[in-house]
């Protein structure tokens, strides 16, 4: 589904991503963790080309990601993304937020789009908020709307960039529940998160990044119980203590 070869990226002089290699199969669920500034966000933002990479190849669902606008558009249609700060459109109602992309990008008839949207809003358990505006919702609700919005495009892959880190503790759970359910339904997922409970429950693989490199890559069972790299051990110690 996703094929990353020798991915390199620089911000000016600063080498953020150093020769990353990763291959994700359909339906796989990957959790990426690592200290702040290690390039996790940059990495997954490369996958739907919110950041351009300078060397290496990314192939998503068989399409190579380069500067070609056609390819970028094709890939973005298949890849949904959820941000740390929700980034809902405050001037549109919850429902309109969910309709926007299906109508304008997929050119779905409005009626049909509404049905899909309501379906996903139900799935994230807030169908009753459809006519409210994002500003009127709590953080957890907003993030669930953001997930529904991404799902409405019926993407093959979902990217999550620390979806719970801007939330209050009570709200984290409601969002994680939705994500776990989603994982259960067989969606291919790439998820940057520090919620180790979530990683343990749903991840097929956990990737640990530091200094722009993939330091360790393992199934959660081995990753948590038996990390091989000292950097991973240090990180896990710190994070599990907290």
């Amino acid at each position: 589904m996703i094929q990353v070869n020798d991915l390199n990226k620089w911000f000016g002089e600063f080498h953020v991503l150093k020769s990353l290699n990763l291959s994700v199969k359909r339906g796989e669920r990957i959790v990426i963790c690592g200290p702040s500034g290690s390039g996790k966000s940059t990495f997954i933002r490369c996958i739907n080309h919110l950041e351009a990479h300078q060397r290496g190849q990314i192939e998503v669902d068989g399409v190579e990601l380069n500067e070609d606008l056609k390819n970028i558009e094709a890939i973005r249609r298949e890849v949904g993304m959820v941000f740390q700060h929700f980034n809902l459109f405050p001037h549109l109602s919850v429902l309109e937020n969910c309709l926007l992309a299906p109508i304008w990008v997929r050119k779905t008839p409005r009626k049909e789009a509404i049905d899909t949207a309501m379906h996903y809003l139900e799935r994230v358990r807030i169908p009753e908020q459809a006519d409210k505006y994002p500003g009127q919702l709590s953080g957890g609700q907003q993030q669930r709307v953001a997930i529904a919005r991404a799902l409405c495009m019926q993407p093959k892959i979902m990217l999550f960039d620390e979806p719970t880190s801007a939330l209050d503790p009570e709200m984290i759970k409601e969002v994680l529940d939705v994500m776990i359910e989603l994982a259960g339904s067989g969606m291919t997922m790439l998820c940057v998160t520090h919620e180790m409970g979530f990683a343990k429950t749903v991840a097929d693989r956990v990737i640990f990044m530091d200094g722009g490199e993939i330091v360790e890559e393992a199934p959660p069972s081995t990753f948590f119980s038996n990390p091989t790299q000292p950097r991973t051990q240090a990180f896990l110690k710190q994070i599990l203590d907290h």
């Binding site: 020798d6 060397r55 290496g56 190849q57 990314i58 990601l65 380069n66 500067e67 070609d68 606008l69």
Partner: protein, 395 residues
């Protein structure tokens, strides 16, 4: 991966889908279009001017103007050149804009502060003033002051007489003109001394405050010095200034200094109009300083007037200065409405009469626009410098 030393590069997209190629092509098209439009306009103008027999060039600036101008800050009579009329117009524009900026700032600040007064009546009067004056076109206000108000003043023979030395009539305000006689240098010297002493006194006061903590009343003492020393000089020399007192002679007042009513009307309108905008700027600037700042300062024991000077004003100024500058720019540009009532500003004298006598429309309009452009650029430059100097240091 099969790494044979050559780094993997993202594949090249098809050129028509490559955003970089698109951007370059798009920009080239835009640049060419603009260049083409510019070139066509230029060509058209040249060929039109040629085919219509219009002479070109700036040689006309050296020809004799031959017309009179009612008011001039620099020496001018009709035997001088068109180049001179440009300067006369420019000086008059600068005069009316400068005075306008000064007065509008004063009125605007007073009204802006009045908007925040604790006195209900004052607050409402200021509000009414602002809402009325900024919602009526400036040109109309100029006409109103010129025709409907100043136009009703009496003629010179029935002029309003202020102590036989100053007169107000529909020919303007006539004031006595000082004529300095030999001993008058001492007055100037007194003024200079007053300024210098005040300057050094301010420095001394600052140093003394730093050393001993004593606060010295610089402002009142400075005012007394700056006004008093020249007066002292005047008295010592036994009044070395004689006044050219205007007197009614023939048609009009002779002697004295005249401020023509066109200047008055323009100034009134520009001031009141712009001040209504400045008042709002000042109000929002002061309101932008949070209440906590005042409270913190009061809690430290600073008396209210010092809170204003040391805490509120410096912070409000950052918010006030940028929009204030654009009001200054607007005022300067709006002074060109002088043409509607015949105040001899740049647009009136140069783009009006001079253009008409010489017919060199393109050159004259270009010169006029260049003047306004440079004023605008100059002010923006100053503003950027100021902004950089006072920008809040943030993390």
């Amino acid at each position: 991966m099969e790494s044979d030393g050559t780094p993997l590069r993202p594949g090249r997209p098809k050129p028509w889908n490559d955003p970089r190629v698109r951007a370059v092509v798009f920009q080239i098209i835009a640049a060419l279009t603009v260049a083409w439009v510019g070139w066509t306009l230029f060509q058209n103008t040249i060929s039109n001017m040629e085919s219509r027999g219009i002479s070109t060039g700036f040689g006309f600036l050296n020809s004799t103007a031959g017309f009179g101008i009612i008011m001039s800050l620099i020496e001018y009579d009709e035997t001088m050149t068109y180049g001179r009329t440009f300067l006369v117009g420019l000086a008059n524009t600068v005069l009316v804009s400068g005075l306008g900026i000064l007065l509008a700032t004063v009125v605007g600040f007073v009204m802006g502060v009045a908007r925040l007064s604790s006195n209900w009546l004052v607050r409402k009067v200021a509000l009414a003033y602002i809402e009325i004056f900024r919602n009526i076109p400036l040109l109309l206000q100029i006409f109103f002051w010129y025709f409907a108000v100043l136009g009703t003043l009496p003629g010179p023979r029935q002029a309003v007489n202020v102590g036989d030395v100053a007169f107000l009539s529909n020919r303007g305000i006539v004031l006595p003109k000082p004529i300095f006689e030999p001993g008058a240098w001492l007055i100037g010297a007194g003024l200079a001394a007053g300024l210098v002493v005040t300057f050094f006194m301010a420095r001394w006061a600052r140093r003394r405050q730093a050393a001993t903590g004593e606060i010295f009343p610089v402002l009142p003492i400075g005012t007394v010095l700056i006004l008093g020393l020249p007066l002292f000089g005047y008295l010592i020399q036994g009044g070395p200034v004689s006044w050219d007192i205007p007197a009614l002679g023939g048609f009009n007042f002779r002697g004295g200094i005249t401020a023509i009513p066109e200047l008055g009307a323009l100034l009134l309108a520009l001031t009141l109009y712009t001040a209504s905008f400045i008042a709002e700027i000042v109000r929002s600037g002061i309101e932008s300083v949070s209440k906590g700042q005042t409270e913190a300062a009061l809690a430290l024991g600073l008396p209210p007037r010092r809170v204003l000077r040391l805490i509120i004003i410096p912070q409000a100024m950052r918010v006030i200065i940028p929009p204030l500058t654009s009001q200054y720019l607007n005022l300067t540009k709006n002074s060109s409405l002088a043409v509607a009532i015949g105040y001899p500003d740049l647009v009136n004298v140069f783009m009006g009469t001079t253009l008409n006598q010489t017919g060199q429309a393109v050159e004259i309009v270009a010169m006029t626009m260049a003047v306004y452009l440079s004023i605008s650029l100059f002010i923006s430059l100053l503003m950027n410098l100021y902004n950089r100097a006072v920008a809040l240091k943030e993390r």
